[in-house]
Symmetry: C2
Amino acid sequence: MSSDQPEQRHRGRMQRKKAAVDAAITRADRDQGLLLVLTGNGKGKSSSAFGMLARALGHGMKVGVAQFIKGRSDTGEEAFFQRQPGVVWHLLGEGFTWETQNLTRDIKTAQRGWAVVREMLRDPSLGLIVLDELTYPLKYGWLEIDTVLADLKARPPMQHVVITGRGAPQALCDAADTVTELRDIKHAFRAGVRAQKGIDL
Amino acid sequence: MSSDQPEQRHRGRMQRKKAAVDAAITRADRDQGLLLVLTGNGKGKSSSAFGMLARALGHGMKVGVAQFIKGRSDTGEEAFFQRQPGVVWHLLGEGFTWETQNLTRDIKTAQRGWAVVREMLRDPSLGLIVLDELTYPLKYGWLEIDTVLADLKARPPMQHVVITGRGAPQALCDAADTVTELRDIKHAFRAGVRAQKGIDL
């Protein structure tokens, strides 16, 4: 038994793995503007969208962001991205609906917000658009899912859109190219740690 | 039946919801450096870590990144964050193990990488550290989990660490404050779309 047998066995296994990975990469050969949905109760949905925003900026793309629920304008993400060139940023929310406690106003705010988004979805110079926490106005019925899906479908063919929020409607997931569900396995908040700068806001 | 009854009912429901949310926020009153794990097969783990990086930079924090597997240096995230002030960025990988096909070299690369990380974990000026795809060297046994956990535990008390990658070991999840599992519900790659700039790289 030669002493380099584990090394050889590893090499053989990895050669077969590489062949399988390479074949999958060869099969995927199309370019396309993607619709991504990040949903579920776990921490990291908006963060993930903002990470893609950073990636897109790294490739010199112009990007747009619409934040639907967050009313506060002191978040780290906003402070950071607002000072980057090539970023259009819209704060469209007034806080969670249990903060406003006014249904009529929530509906008006959401619909005014969607009009702003529609303009971005018609602008082919925007390579990536983040619709942060869009699922809530959909879930509460402040926006019509059919209107939203139609506007998404009519967007420029190479424009990527990332939608975040809990409880994404099934029709939105059906229309999406990539859907990730973030499951909350454990959260520091439940252990008594409040929202931390740089992590949660 | 008064015409503003739905509005009143909504207000009542939202007042109760607000009370519950506020009570939970009051209970969570500690500040602490968090250890976060983003695992699972779904798309968005590294993106999520990079989003938190952007948040931290927005609050004026200094941050560090170590990428364990990715050997390529042409990703959007690297191009973007490397040009930001306050970012320390280390590429510690040579690609996936099925690319190198050399076990001894993979082990040496990972261990040299961890020595770099250990220095970052001893630097209290770094408010957030991303250990991107650290789970792979742990899973393949190139790094000892006990060494990694001991170094993480010894870090400055207010330093946040975010670890990404599939198949996070149970001992790592046990040590973490927040764990999110990203489930792959649907992925454009399987429909024949290749990795897209700004989304996947």
